[in-house]
Symmetry: C2
Subunit: 381 residues, 2 copies
Amino acid sequence: MTNSIQNQILGVLGGGQLGRMLIQSAINYNQDIHILDPDPNAPCKDIAQRFQAGSLKDFDTVYSFGKGCDVITVEIEAVNTDALLKLADEGKKVFPQPPILKLIQDKREQKQFYQLHGIPTADFVLTENKADVISKKDFLPAVNKLGKEGYDGRGVQILRSEADLENAFDAPGLLEKFIDFDKEIAVTVARNENGELIAYPAVECAFHPTANLVEFLFAPAQISSEIEEKAQQIAKEVILKLDMVGILAVELFVTKSGEVLVNEIAPRPHNSGHHTIEANFTSQFEQHLRAVMNWPLGDPSLRCPAAMINLLGEDGFSGPVLVEGKEVALTEKGVYIHLYGKKLTKPFRKMGHVTILDENINALKSKAYRIKELIKIKSTL
Amino acid sequence: MTNSIQNQILGVLGGGQLGRMLIQSAINYNQDIHILDPDPNAPCKDIAQRFQAGSLKDFDTVYSFGKGCDVITVEIEAVNTDALLKLADEGKKVFPQPPILKLIQDKREQKQFYQLHGIPTADFVLTENKADVISKKDFLPAVNKLGKEGYDGRGVQILRSEADLENAFDAPGLLEKFIDFDKEIAVTVARNENGELIAYPAVECAFHPTANLVEFLFAPAQISSEIEEKAQQIAKEVILKLDMVGILAVELFVTKSGEVLVNEIAPRPHNSGHHTIEANFTSQFEQHLRAVMNWPLGDPSLRCPAAMINLLGEDGFSGPVLVEGKEVALTEKGVYIHLYGKKLTKPFRKMGHVTILDENINALKSKAYRIKELIKIKSTL
């Protein structure tokens, strides 16, 4: 099996920035990657061995794309799982496994999965429509989530008091007890077909106040070793209970009383792991590759404290991209700019990220805030 | 000028592993790269924004390729410099500048350049043909070099005694005093159009006994701070005297008496800088990109001690590549495999490299030797 690495084709559903960074890792291993994405100008277009524009939700498109691959993975959850199930039945390796993708596509099923397996998570009630949410107003303050189609902050809102109920989602969803958390952290775990399992050190996330996207990330998280251990154990338990192969990002709340609760999970490389490209021995992208190809897993440990900021399209700008402040940022030591090759910006679109390294945590934080103010994604229009 | 980074096309003459690793860096900046290479299956083929198969030595091919670019650089010196001169005359940015490439193409001119500028280098005499070499036998032991067309160890041989004279090159070349050196080291320097100039810490090279290719590289070099300082000064002097823009690898001898002498130079990313991808704050590939695009230069300092080994095709094997030992190597912490996407191996062909990181120098060396024995490039034939 010494030559297995070169000969198999890895198909990826989705050709955005996650696929792009996966390809950047795969180049080092001569690992050919085929990409399917609905956008003919997706970030992976120029660097995949094969790029096909097509729907990720259409059975026939996904099925016939998958037939040309040996191993199939995703960089987005919203894909046709029936086609993936059929491909898996026919002997293709599909990681994460299709039933897991189906579970992830529905936040209601996800929560019930945690409950069934005793995985700590915020209390919740299922809701069928707006009237049902209103009838459960005693559950407030709560987070109201849509069961399906939520992504990058869409389909999630906080209902603090009865006055907010008029915004309640009028479709199947849930109400989750509002957690007045101390910190939001994330632990990435990876598992291969041989059963090898590793966990990355926890990172700490700070979210954008309105866009509900990660705005700053710091690694390592400033938490006690007990909380770190608990968080890693929970993340490992989730991937084991899912019996999943691939990389899994587990976002967690640390409550003021020291509880650790699962918030959301993503069975793919995730925004909370972008810093690993420069900051860890093995990046989350290479780790995902190793996991789905059943290669030995790499060392997840941190080489250096790091911060990560997302470069989101500035509010008020749409059109061809103009990156402000990049030249000045390039003069700073330990600052790594990653642009995603998207031609058009729009408010809050993820256009890139920056990783910042510094052995000194305080210097790291101030550099991160400075870079955040410096680089702005605007438009030439 | 905040948007200058996206809008210019960088053309690269040569689409081998150096171009491939340059593209891997450029992806992070949305920097489009066009590649010209005679081999339609060159390592850059699948990942360049545009790939053209064609001769690097043909005036018209190089000229018309260059017309479609804004900035032009090389990853190999053996290119048509007349076409590059014309492109530069017509306003294209060509880095390294064509006269420097012309100088590098002829080892005789290179040595005379060092002499003219007082750059320390081994004593030499020019030779016109075999008879001329024989007539200068008093100069032995010496290194006999062909003036032109030498590459990767070809066109260089040691003439230790009169018995070796029958092998003397029968074409314009030179005899260089054989240096019984203590160490071979290399310093990479970079300079942009604004005049910014940086030097990487010196690395120590160990060459393959017969193939005359770098076999092991260690960073940092185990030398005194005086020698380090002297080597960096010399390397900076060379790039300044050349008035060159881009990255320049300067290979040097450290003699037993503590002299530092320039051996060879390469005005492009070089084998002696491959470790910088993982081991330094800014890799040589990103640094070259920054230099030729006139962006601010990045920090060259070392993040961690590193070793680098070349993966050369094993002697006795030709044909489709089979990489032995990779799976075991993947289990080691801080081991980074880079394969170059070449479909066919042949004896001593550069098929990839491995970078190894370890804070402990002794552990680093033993890991490097172990990995060297472990990974073998053979063929399926």
